[in-house]
C-alpha cells in the first residue's frame, strides 16, 4: 500500500515560516495593486489579500512532489506552493518570460517545478482535473497528495459533487479546500445557497471526510490540513476542508469596492480586524518567537525580492507575435 508520509509538528520555525510566507503573499499582492494603475498589467487580477492563511496553512503541509491546482484567485496558492515569483509577475505583465509565456495571464498560472499544475478561472472546472491528478498518482503508484483550492461558489456546480463521488469511489489522495469568503463577485452566499445547507453533510454523504475551520488562523488551517493528510495516509481516501475567510479588495482588480454597497462596512471592518497576518504576528510576538526588528528584516527582504521581480517582469521582452500561433497541438 502506498504510504503518504507527511506533516511536520508545529514548532517555532514552522510558525515563523508560515508568517513569512503570508507576509510575502500580502506584500506581493499589495505591490500588484499599487502598480496596476500603470496599465502595464493588462489582464484581470483577483487578489487574495485577507485570505493568505488558507494557502499558506495548507501548502505548509505539502512537499514538493505534491500537486496543487487552483482557480482565478490563485496568486497566494501559487506562491505558497513554491511557484516562481518572477515568472508569475512576468506572466501578469504578459511577457515571454512569464510562467505561461504570456498566453495565460494572471488567471492561468503554472509552475511544474513546484508541482503547481495550473490555475483556471472557469468556476469549479479545475476540481475534477485535480481528482484526475490524484487518480493518476494512484495508477502510477506515486506517493503524492493533490490539493485543490476553490471558492464557495464552486460547491454549487454539479461537477463538484461528481468529483467528490469519484474521489470517494476510488479512495483518492486528494484534499478539497473550499475558501468560503461568502461572496461570488457581488452575490452573497445567501442568494446562492439555502441557510440549511451544510457542505460537511454533503461531502460526508459522498463518503468524503471533512472539517471546517477558521480561515484567518493559519495554525488552525495547518492543523486541519495535517489531519486531512493523516487521514489520507491511512488510506482512507479524500478529505474536504472548508475555511471561512474574507476578501478585502474588489472581486477583480486592485481597488476596494465597499462603496458599491453589496457588503456592509461593519462586516468588512470586522473581518479586517481579524487580519490573518496580524493575528499570527501578535501571537508570535507574545510568545517571544519573533521581535519587531525581525519583522522589519523580513519586510525588507521581501521588499527587495519583490522589487527585483517587478524589475524582471517589466524589463522582460514581450513574446514574439508568432508565438501566439504555436503550441496549439502537442
Amino acid at each position: 500500500m502506498t504510504i503518504w508520509n507527511k506533516g511536520k509538528p508545529i514548532d517555532m520555525e514552522l510558525k515563523k515560516k508560515m508568517y513569512f510566507d503570508m507576509l510575502r503573499i500580502r506584500m506581493v499582492e499589495e505591490a500588484i495593486a499599487k502598480h496596476y494603475s500603470e496599465q502595464e498589467m493588462r489582464c484581470p487580477v483577483h487578489l487574495c489579500i485577507g485570505q493568505e492563511a488558507v494557502a499558506v496553512g495548507v501548502c505548509a503541509n505539502l512537499s514538493k512532489e505534491d500537486y496543487v491546482m487552483s482557480n482565478h484567485r490563485s496568486h497566494g496558492h501559487y506562491l505558497a506552493k513554491g511557484g516562481n515569483l518572477k515568472a508569475m509577475l512576468a506572466e501578469i505583465y504578459g511577457k515571454a518570460t512569464g510562467c505561461s509565456k504570456g498566453k495565460g495571464g494572471s488567471m492561468h498560472l503554472v509552475d511544474l517545478s513546484a508541482n503547481f499544475v495550473g490555475a483556471t478561472p472557469i468556476v469549479s472546472s479545475s476540481i475534477p482535473v485535480a481528482v484526475g491528478l490524484a487518480f493518476g498518482t494512484i495508477l502510477k503508484e506515486k506517493r503524492s497528495i493533490t490539493a485543490v483550492f476553490f471558492g464557495d461558489a464552486a460547491t454549487e456546480e454539479g461537477v463538484f459533487c461528481e468529483s467528490l463521488n469519484f474521489a470517494s469511489l476510488k479512495k483518492l489522495p486528494i484534499v478539497f479546500i473550499c475558501e468560503n469568503n461568502f461572496y461570488s463577485v457581488y452575490s452573497p452566499l445567501f442568494v446562492r445557497q439555502p441557510p440549511e445547507r451544510d457542505n460537511l453533510s454533503i461531502v460526508r454523504a459522498y463518503g468524503v471526510a471533512g472539517e471546517k475551520g477558521d480561515g484567518n488562523d493559519v495554525l488552525d488551517v495547518y492543523t486541519l490540513a495535517q489531519r486531512a493528510i493523516a487521514h489520507i495516509n491511512q488510506g482512507l481516501g479524500p478529505y474536504y476542508l472548508q475555511f471561512d475567510t474574507y476578501r478585502w479588495r474588489e472581486h477583480c482588480g486592485p481597488n476596494y469596492d465597499n462603496d458599491l454597497g453589496y457588503r456592509a462596512e461593519d462586516e468588512f471592518t470586522t473581518w479586517q480586524g481579524r487580519c490573518p497576518i496580524k493575528h499570527i504576528e501578535e501571537s508570535l510576538k507574545n510568545e517571544g518567537i519573533i521581535s519587531d526588528s525581525e519583522v522589519k528584516e523580513m519586510v525588507k527582504r521581501i521588499h527587495e525580492e519583490i522589487s527585483e521581480a517587478f524589475d524582471f517582469a517589466k524589463s522582460s521582452p514581450f513574446p514574439d507575435p508568432k508565438s501566439a500561433f504555436a503550441e496549439v497541438y502537442a
Partner: protein, 352 residues
C-alpha cells in the same frame, strides 16, 4: 426624436419593456441584480419587478439552464444571462440536448421560449477561457436560433424578437459594443430575424456580424474613398441565415468577402461561402475570401492579441486584392488606431 443611447441601455430598455408587457418574462443569471447589473444591462430591474423575476442564481449553469427550460415549458419566458460565453459552456447539455430538441422530439407538443444572453469578452487579458466567440457552435444545432446584434437599434429589436420567439434563442453580444451609441426608438419594437443592408454598393459584398460589422463599416468607408463601393450585409441573425439578402447582394456585386469575429475553420464564414458557392457560383467574378481568427485559442498578453484580431486594414487589403489592386498601409488608407487592440477605447483601464 433621434434618440441616441448606448447598446447596453438598449438591451436594458428592451428587457424592461418585455417584462412590463408580459408577466411571464423573467431574467436570471449570475449578477443580474448586483450593483453592476451585467455591465449596466439589468440595472434597476429588480426594483421594478422584484427578486423573483429578476434573480441571481447559484453558480450552477447547467442546472439552472434546465430550470429555465422547465419553467419555459410551463409558460414562462426566461432570459438567462452569462457574463461570458465561456461560462455557459457548462450548460451545453441542457441547451443542446434539451432546449434545442424539446419541441421536435415530443412531436411539437411543447415549446421552449428561452433567451440566453452571452457576452463575448475580448482583450485586456481575457485570454483563452474568457473571450471565445462560439456562434458557429450554437448555429450548428438544429432547434437553436442565434442572433448577434451590431447596433444599439438591433440590440433592442433583436432582444424583443428573441424574448417573443417561441424557440430557444442564443443572443450574443460583444462586450465592446456595450458602450457604442446609436439611434434607438423609445417604443418597443422587434427587429426581424434576418440580415440588414448596412451600406449599398456595387463592387464587393462584405458579410459580417456583431463587432466585425463596425470594422467592416470602417473599411467600407476607406474603400469608398479609394473608389471601391462595398455592399455591407450585417447578418444580425446567424441562424436562421438570411440567404436571400446575401445572394441578392452577390448577384449585384459578384464578389464575396466574409468577415467573422470567430475562428475560421468550420465556422460561420465557411457556411456562408459554401452557401454562396452552391447557390450563386455563376455570379461570382472571383474566388470568395474570408477574414476570421486563426485556429488558435486567444492568447492573453496584449503583445499577442494585438496581432491576433483582424482590423479594418485587413479588410481593406483583402478587398483590394479581390479587385486586383495593390496593398496599402494604414497610413495610406488614413486609418488611425487610437487604442491598442486589447481595449475597446481609450477610456478603458481594466480590470474587466
Amino acid at each position: 426624436m433621434d434618440r441616441i443611447i448606448t447598446y447596453a441601455q438598449a438591451i436594458l430598455e428592451a428587457t424592461e419593456q418585455c417584462m412590463a408587457a408580459d408577466s411571464s418574462v423573467y431574467i436570471m443569471g449570475l449578477g443580474v441584480p448586483d450593483p453592476k447589473g451585467i455591465f449596466g444591462t439589468t440595472l434597476g430591474l429588480k426594483e421594478k419587478f422584484g427578486d423573483n423575476r429578476v434573480c441571481d442564481m447559484p453558480v450552477s449553469e447547467n442546472g439552472m439552464t434546465g430550470v429555465a427550460i422547465g419553467s419555459a415549458i410551463v409558460g414562462m419566458r426566461p432570459i438567462m444571462t452569462h457574463q461570458r460565453v465561456d461560462f455557459m459552456l457548462l450548460s451545453l447539455d441542457q441547451i443542446i440536448n434539451n432546449a434545442a430538441k424539446w419541441h421536435y422530439m415530443f412531436g411539437g407538443k411543447m415549446k421552449v421560449p428561452l433567451t440566453i444572453r452571452l457576452l463575448v469578452g475580448r482583450g485586456w487579458g481575457q485570454g483563452p477561457q474568457h473571450s471565445q466567440s462560439l456562434q458557429a457552435l450554437f448555429a450548428h444545432i438544429p432547434g437553436l436560433k442565434v442572433v448577434m446584434p451590431a447596433t444599439p437599434y438591433d440590440a433592442k429589436g433583436l432582444m424583443v424578437a428573441a424574448v417573443e420567439d417561441d424557440n430557444p434563442v442564443i443572443y450574443i453580444e460583444h462586450r465592446w459594443l456595450h458602450g457604442t451609441f446609436g439611434y434607438v426608438p423609445e417604443e418597443k419594437y422587434a427587429s426581424t430575424m434576418g440580415a440588414r443592408l448596412m451600406r449599398v454598393g456595387t463592387d464587393l459584398t462584405i458579410v459580417s456580424s456583431s463587432l466585425m460589422t463596425l470594422e467592416a463599416l470602417k473599411a467600407a468607408n476607406v474603400l469608398s474613398e479609394q473608389g471601391i463601393e462595398v455592399e455591407l450585409v450585417d447578418l444580425r441573425t446567424i441562424k436562421p441565415l438570411d440567404e436571400k439578402t446575401v445572394l441578392d447582394s452577390i448577384d449585384k456585386t459578384g464578389r464575396l468577402l466574409v468577415v467573422d469575429g470567430a475562428w475560421q475553420s468550420f465556422g460561420v464564414s465557411a457556411e456562408i461561402m459554401a452557401m454562396v458557392s452552391e447557390k450563386a457560383f455563376d455570379s461570382l467574378k472571383c474566388a470568395p475570401k474570408r477574414i476570421a481568427f486563426a485556429d488558435v485559442p486567444t492568447p492573453t498578453s496584449f503583445a499577442l492579441t494585438n496581432h491576433y484580431y483582424p482590423r479594418a486594414i485587413d479588410i481593406v487589403n483583402t478587398a483590394r486584392k479581390m479587385l486586383k489592386m495593390s496593398e496599402v498601409t494604414e497610413e495610406e488608407a488614413g486609418i488611425c488606431h487610437q487604442a491598442p487592440l486589447d481595449v475597446p477605447d481609450l477610456s478603458f483601464t481594466g480590470p474587466f
